[in-house]
Structures are given as structure tokens and as C-alpha cells.
Amino acid sequence: MQQTAELETQRQKDVSDEVLLSVRNLRTYFPILGGILRHKVGEVKAVDGISFDVKRGETFGLVGESGCGKTTTGRTILRLQKATSGEIIFEGQNVLSLSSSQMKARRRDMQIIFQDPYSSLNPRMPVGDIIGEGLRVHGLRDRREREKTVQYFLSVVGLRKEYVRRYPHEFSGGQRQRIGVARALALRPKFIVCDEPVSALDVSVQSQVLNLLADLQKEFGLTYLFIAHDLSVVEYLSDRVAVMYLGKMAELATSEELYARPLHPYTKALLSAIPNPDPLVRSKRIVLQGDVPSPINPPSGCRFRTRCPIAYERCATEEPEFREVVPSHFVACHRAEESTSLMAALIARDEITKAVPA
């Protein structure tokens, strides 16, 4: 496939340097209640101290596997989940310290598209009401005005205006997801958390929704936090990508940089694990041993050390700092500078490429 200059400009976005959202030392813990008196016996440290900035107009990708805390991060930013500590600064204001009426006003600017198009739409509400509900809550009382706005956003997402009176069950998965997108757009927000918006859709429908999200971003000047576990999808839409593991951020870089020169061993394993759709390409892949540890009792020091092929003594005693190893490329690994050569050697000797350890 060729990349022409024309296609490049088509995808040019207006990413400014202005920070729209700043997350500082965010922690979200879920209590585990036990015993007869149901008091707290432990905590699931779903998000355990992450910091990052999202610039106005950009798509910030957040990837990781199940249990890494990416969905909890997205939900905590919107206060759909209670943060345990930290700050979420949106346009200069700490969202976590707002009263409920102040937060309500802020919600116009921050919206979400959910993963499951089947459970995220109220089956008893017609589509017009689903999309228009937010408008009504935020004061657009005139019914005709609301209907006009709803019809406008229906057409923006490629659905017919007549669908206003239909119910969710009358639509396919891809169409339902478009309704979810219309709902998120209705209040003309500045920022949208896209929580695995295409995971539940068939491949050919995924591309329709991804193209739609890209077009809408340009048209409405949106900023996205794009959460997904499918790395190819994240790379496609994102400007910068952060990789999470067990509640912490392992690596952060521009998407080109991350995919071309990953430095964290986990990121390398993650990228290597993606099966290549070209049957002629037969590269050796990194196979991590074991399972992800529990977030209730994460390993000491570096959380990834129990599965890391290049872990050494320091990794057990000292948690690695999330530092800028290369300009604009952040990694939390004591051996970030030598990870590439160390792992290449292991792969060449076939030491980390087998499904079953010898």
C-alpha cells in the first residue's frame, strides 16, 4: 500500500501544544470486604499512581491487557468511578475537587463512548431520547430544538433521521455503536473517552466506526482518550500511546516511536505477540511465561519482573522510575537503555520464544 502526500495531509490534525487534561498521581483502589462484619480486608489496586497529559486535539491511546487499569483510568477521569487519590486537571480545574453541580456543568465537556453497544443503550428508550437525554438534562428544554439537534447528530454518524423513533434492538452492533457516538457528541464536548469502542464489532464494521471517529475528530475539534487492547487499532488512530501494566504506566511515546522502537520489555512482548496477517512473514515471537499477577498483591519493585525476561536483582527491590529515556519517550524500566540488545540476544538463542519452557 502506498502512502502519498495527499493522504498525509488528509490525516493532518490540529494537535496543539496546549494541555487539555492533566492526570497527576492517580490512584483508584477497590476495597475487598470480608469477614462477618464486612470490613476492608484488602484492596484491588486497579490504578496505582499514573501521570500523563493529553493535549488539545490529540488522540491519546491507552493500551494494556485485562486488569491493567486502563478502563478504570478512563472512568475515573470522568468521575464514573471514585478516585482514591491524585488529581485530574481539566482546563486548569481539578475535576476531583468539584461539587456535584460544578461537576454536572463540566460533564458537558467530557463524554464517553462505551465498549458494549448492546448493554450501553437503554433498551426501553427510543434512539432519539437516548441521544437527546443529555441535552434535556443540561437545559435544552425546547422539544423541537432537541429533535433538530438529535437528527443532526444522527446524520453526522451516518444514520437516517427517521431512526429517531426506533429502539436499540432494531439496530445492528455497528449501528448501535454509532448511536453511542451520537450520544457522546450531542453536547458538543471537548473531550471523549473512547473505551474499547470497536472491540465488540466485526472487523468490517470496525473500520467504519474507526473512520467515523477520525472524521469527527477533525470536524468537531475533539480530543480523545482511546482505550483499547488491540494494538493495531490504537496505533491507527493515536498520536501518542501509553502502555499500562498492573495499574502502572510502563511506557509512553508517539505511536510511530512506540511501535518502531519499544523499550519496555512488556511493550516488546506485546507487539511481538500480535499475529502478522502476512502468511509469508515468519518471525520469532517473544512468548511471556506465566500469568499476570494479582493487583491485590502486586510484586515488589517492578511489577513486571515476575514475567520479565531481563529482570535482575534491582527489579525486586526498587520500583523503576517513569523517566524520559529518549526525548518524549518515557519508560519505567531499570534496563531501558539495554533492553533492545538484551532481548534480541535472547530471541536469537530461542530462549524466550517457546510456548513451554524447556
Partner: protein, 303 residues
Amino acid sequence: MDGVVKAVDGVDMAIAPGRTLGVVGESGCGKSVTSLSIMRLIDPPGWIAGGQITFDTKDLVKLSEQEMRHIRGDKISMIFQEPMTSLNPVFTVGNQVGEAIRVHRGVSKREAETRVVDLFRMVGIPSPERRIHDYPHNMSGGMRQRVMIAMALALQPSLLIADEPTTALDVTIQAQILELIKDLRTKVNTAVLLITHDIGVVAEMADEVIVMYTGKVVEQGDVISVLNSPKHPYTVGLLNSIPSLGVKNQRLNVIPGTVPSPLNLPKACTFAPRCPHVMGICTEQEPPLKTLEGGAKVRCWLY
């Protein structure tokens, strides 16, 4: 009755020992129903309306349920998509894997247990002597899928049907499972019928590929020709609509429209309404599955 859904409508496939056939298609194309039909696991009101399933000189369609039970688990076994719902929650995993061995080989419980420990070790479950006493809920998704694989391979079947074996798993765990299946395939020389919607998995695992759409085969051939030089417009569209690593800043190709409802399929070629190369004949006559030079098969009037 509201109508008949022809979930699978005239599918031919053949797998040789040791080879892997990938079946690709999106939801509703009939790939899972095909595999369940082979295992004779279609529940009423569904039924096998016609055709033959020849396995080792026997036609499975004509066998009695008792005869099928001898074959299932022993000669043909299956790995399902959701390991949690496919394992019985009230029995230990050791018991479940051992059950097939006891039933089909008539050995004692003790002996079956030894074999299960060996199997668990073979599929990479650490501390197998302890893990055989675990219940499914004590294990992670990846571990459970390894248990399913152990169960499926326990009796060294000639045919292994893997229906979306890694879809519910994280990508690093998927990598473990795929490497494992490849490893075992070489050791045991099992033929594999691999059903998936993930083109990457097909590229990696399959020797031959079948692409299905609305219950029919639309393209068939060896994996390199189907994936690198696809012929049917649906295959082309499908392959182009996947974002692949390293290819950014281009609009993803889109197949317009949606998969038609099986109760209301278009006349003649079912892909015609969405096809960028549709011609007059496409809406009048259904194209037959034609064999091209080189062995590939396509169901399309363009050829």
C-alpha cells in the same frame, strides 16, 4: 415457523492429516455451525439437512448417537471459545480431563490421573500435580484454555476443531496458546480445523483457508494465495479493512452496508448489494464455486 435459516448452505471442505484448515468469516457466516455439525452437536430445532461428512471412511451424518460418542473426544475433539463456560464448574480440572481418558480407554482412575499430569505438563501448566485438583474458577483464562487443549489432545485425536480458541484471551496469552497448538500439532500430527475471524491467527496457523459469507464458501485456497492475492471482493474488502501495524495515516477500507439477515438473503449472489464490482448477472444468477488455475476456488462472476 417464521422461516428457515440456512446457516450452512452447501459447504465442501477437506483436511489431510497434519494439515491446518482455517475458516474465516464474520459473525453469522456459518463457521461455528459448520464445526458443530461435524461433531453432530447441533441441537433441535436445528438439523443437518443434507450432505456427507466423511471421516476415516465413515459418514458421520449417518452414525447413531452412540457411535458418535465413541468418536467425539477420541478421534475428533474440540476446543471452544469461552473456556469458562466450557468447563464444568463443579468438577476439578483433573477430573474433567481424566474423564475422557477413563471413558474411552477404560483405565483406572489412578492411571488416568498420571496421564493427566503428563498432559498438563505438556501444555505448560506449572506444578501440574497440584493443579489437577483445582476447579476452573481457581484458574485464569489462559490456564483454562490450556486445560481445554489438554482435554482435546488427551486421546491424540486425528482431528482437532478449534473454534475461536484465543478470541477471549489477551494477546500475550494468545501467543502462548498458538505456539502451543503449533508445537503439539507437530508432535501428534493432528489435523486442525481452525475457526477464527482474526486474519493474523489464520496467517500464522493455517495451510489452507476457506472464507465464508452467509453460509457459503466464497473463496478457498492455500493461505498464501488467499491472504496475499485475494480474489473474491469480500475477501479483498475484509483484508483491507484491518488496520495493520506500521501502516498509519490512511483511511481504512470499508465494506459498505452490513451482513444481510439470514432470513432475508439477497437473491442470486448474496454479496452483490455490498460489492464494488457488481454486474448485471450478479443479481440474477448465483455464481458457482469455480476452480481457477493454481487450485484456488472463488464464487464470483468476475472469474
